[in-house]
Amino acid sequence: MESERIEEYLEAIYKRQGRETPVSTSSLAADLRVSQPAVTDMLRTLENKGLIDYKSRRGAALTSTGEKMALAVIRRHRLWERFLTDVLGMKWDKVHAEACRLEHATSPDMEKGLSGILSGIDTCPHGHSIPDEKGNIKPEKTTLLSEFRPPQKVRILAIRNEDPRVLRGIEKLGLRPGVVVSVLKKNRDGSLDIELQNEKITLDNATSSVLTAEPVPVISPPIDEAEIALGELPPGEFAVIKVCGGGRGSLGRCLSLGFTPGSIIKMVENYHRGPVLVRVHDTEVAIGRQLAEKISVVRKAAS
C-alpha cells in the first residue's frame, strides 16, 4: 500500500514541477485531494528515502532517483491509457482512473508486453509523451492555447486535465491532439474564438487553458522554385533561405544572425557590387557581396 502512495506522490510532484519549483505542499494537497498535514508527513518519508529534496514552507523537488521512479510510473500509466483506448476501445475520459489503479500493479514483463503491442506510439491518448524504458522523456511543449495571439494557426498537442467531464466536453467540440485550428479572436471575457474545419466555435477560458498547442507556420507557395544567390534578389522582394554557404567561421556568424534554412528574408537594398542590406528575423543586417553570393534562396511572394 505504501509503495503505491509513494508512487502517487512522485507522479504528482513530477507533474507539478513543470509549473512550479519547488512544489508547495498546498498544491500537492489539492492535486491528491488529501490534507496538508498528511502531505507534509509523506514528504518527510520521501525525503528520508532520498527521493526528494524537501524544505518546509518552501516545498519539494525530486532528486534524480525520485525523478527516475516518477517517470517509470508515468510510463506505465500512459501505456495503460493507450492500451485501454486503442486496444480495448474505451472512451478517453474513462481511462485515467483505470490506469491509476493498473499502474501500480504492473510487472516488468507486463510492461514489456504493453510496449510491444503499442510500438511506435509515443504519446498517451491525451497527447502527453510516454517516457522510454530508460526513463527518458521527450520534453513537452507547454504553451497554452489561451496564450496564443490571434490570428494564428496552431496544432493541438495535449490536454492537461484528466477530469472526465472536461475531457468529454473537449471531445464533443472535436478537439483532440493533432488537430489544427485557427485562433481567430480573443474576447473581452477571456474566451477564444477558433475555427475548426470551417466551423467557428467559442472556447471559454477554462477550456482553452487546459489545451497545449504549437504554431503551424503559414507558408505561402513560392512563386519560382529556382534557387538563386541572395545577391541576385532585387530590392523589395522576399525569399526563403535554402542553403547557407561560406566557410566555417562566417557560417557560424550567419546562423547566429538568423540566416537559417527556411527563414524568410527581404531584400532592402542591393546596389551593384556593394554590400547588400536585408531584413531577416525582424532586424536589418548588412552582408558583404561575397557572402551574399554564397547564400542561396528561393523567391517568394510577399506575405
Binding site: 521527450k138 562566417s250 557560424g252 552582408i287
Partner: protein, 677 residues
Amino acid sequence: MSESTKTREITVALAGAPNVGKSTIFNLLTGLSQHVGNWPGKTVEHKTGVFRQGELTMNIIDLPGTYSLTANSVEEQIARDYLVHENPDVVVAVLNAASLERNLYLVAELIELAPRLVIALNMLDVAEQQGMKIDSEALSRTLNIPVVPIVARANRGLRELVTQVEQECNTAAGLRNVKHIEYGSEITDVIDHVDRLLEDGITARYPKHWTAMKLLEGDEQINKLIKARMPAERWPALDSYLREHESAAVTIATLRYEWVERMMAVAQQKRRVGQVSLTEKIDRAATHPVLGIFMLIAILGAMYWLVFSIGVPVQQFLDVNLIERTRDFIYTLSYMPQWLQGFLADGVLSGAGTVLTFIPILFFFFAAWAFLEDTGYTSRAAFVTDRFMHALGLHGKSCLPLVLGFGCNVPAIFGTRIIDSPRARLLTILLTPLVPCTGRMAVIAIIAAAFFGSAAVLISIGMIILSLLILAIVGLILNRFVIRGKSSALIMELPLYHVPDLKLIGMVTWQNILAFIKRAGTVILAVSILVWLLSVIPNGNINNSILSDIGRWLEPLGRLMGLNWQMMVALLSSFVAKENTIATLGVMLSGSSGDFTQQLKAILTPAAAVAFLVVQVLFIPCVATIAAIRQETGGWKWPALVLVFQMVLAFAVAIPVYQVLRLFPGLFFSFCTVLPS
C-alpha cells in the same frame, strides 16, 4: 531572517546582444563605481561595478555584447567562458524588445549555461513605435523565466529588475524548470553519440552535453580544446563523426530559431504591415551608395567643424595661458635651482603638459564617436564605405576609425574596437598612423606658410593626398603579402536609430579621457623627460647636448634630403607630440637673427622644405599613438614594427622627393611663383 543572511553579496552578469541598451542599464546601476579594464590578454573591455541597496551588494559584470555563445568572435568566447568558469549567481539577459526574435536566440543558448536567468526586456517603447506589442507576462509564463519590462533610457523598471534578481537568488540553482529548447530526436541522437565519444572529465568546466553540441556546431575553440585533451588514438573517430554530421550546425541553429518562433507566437502581436518606420525612412538616404556617402561627409564635416571651432581654440588657449604662463612663472622663481626649473618647464610642461592640452580636442572626438555609435549611425557608415575599404582588405567598419585619425590617431586606434574581424582590425590599427592628424597638419601649415606663401594650401593638400596614397599602397601590400589570412566578409546588424543616451556618451567619453590622462601621466611623461634630459645633458645647452649629437650623427642621412642636424633634431622631437617640432626649432634657432620665417629660410632650400614636410607627415607616430597601439595589440611587436616601418618609409619617400626637386628647381619655382600671392 537570520543574522548571516542580512548582508548579502551576489554576482550578477549582464548578457545581451550589441545594441540592446546593456551599457545603459550597467551605468544606471553602477554609476561611478564602475571599473573599466581589459579582459586578461584580450582587447575587449572588461567592465565591473557595484550596486548597493540596503543590505544587498551586487557585483555587476557587463559581459561583451554577443549574438550567440558559439565562439565566432573573442567576445562570444569571453562571455561563455565567464559563465562557465565564474558561475555568476544570476545572469540577466538584456533583450531589445524591438528585435526580440534575434535576441531570443541568445536566450536559447543562455538557458543551457546559466543556472539562474532573469530577462530584462528593454526598449518596449521603441517596439511599440515600430507597431509591435510584446506581452512580457506571457513570455515569462511560457519560458518559466522572470521577465522584467524596462525602459532603461527613461530609468523605468530598474527597481523591479533588482528585486527580481534578488528573489531569483533565493531559489536553488537549477530548480526552476526552465523550458529548455526541444531538439528533435533525430539531432538529439547525434548529440548523444558525440557525448558518448567524450570521456568523463575531458570537457572539464564545460558541461559535457553542451560541449558535444558545440563540437557539432563547429565551434573551433572547443574543437581545439577537445583535440588537445583527448588521447590521440581516439580523436580520429570523433573527428570523422563530426565531419559526417557537418550539417548538424545548421540543424541546431534552425531548431533554435523554431523555438524562438514558438516563443514569439506567444509573446508578440503581429506586426502592423505597411508601416514605414523612421529608421527605414532615414536609411533610404543613409545606406544609399551615393546619398549615403554625401551624408557621411556632411556628418563628418559637422564633427570637424565642432572640433576646430571649439576644441582647437580651447587647446590653444590652454597652451598659451596655462602651459606657457606656468613655464614663464617657473623661470621667475629664483629660489628654485636652475636644473629643476628646466626639468619642470621644459621637461614636464612642454612635453606631457602640452599633450594634456589636447584633451579638449580629444573630448570632442571621443564624444562624437560615442554619439555616432549610440545613435546607430556607425554601422550605416560602415555599410556605405564597405566597397571602398574591401580593396585594402579592410572592412566597412574600418572607415570611421581612419577618418577619426585626421583629428587624432589616438581615439582612432581605440575606435578600431568596433571591427569584429581581428585581421581587419589589426590592419586598420597599422594603417591609422599614416592618416595625417591635426598635430602634423599644424606643423605642415606653419612651415608651408613660411616658405610657399599662397601655395601653402596646395602644398598642405598635397601632403594629405600623398599620405592617403601611401596608406592605400601600404594597405594593399599588407593585405596581399604581409598579414596572412583571408579578408573576412562583412556581416553586421543595422540597429534601429534611437535618441542617444547622453549619460552613456558622457560616461564613455570620461573613461576614454581618463585613460588618456593616465597614459599622459606615465608613458608620455617618461618619454618627454627622457627627451628633455637628452637635450640638456651635459651642460644645459641644446646645441651641444646628446640630442644634438644624435642629430649630428644623423646629418649624413639628413643631407640626402637637404636637412641639417637641427632639422633632424626637430624631427626626432616630434616623437613626444607632433607639434613639438616647431617648439624645438624655435629653441634651437633662437640664437640666430631674424624672425622664425627668416631663420628657417636660412637653413632650408625650398626643395628641402618640401622634403621636410614629407618626412614629417610620414615619420613615426607620436608616443601617445604608440602607447595606444601597444595597448590594443597587446604587446610591443606591432608598435615596434610601426616605428621601424614608418621611419624607413619616411626617409624612403622624402629622399627621392628632394633629389627630384633639386634636379628641376626651375620647374618647381615657376610653379610656386605662377600662383597669385
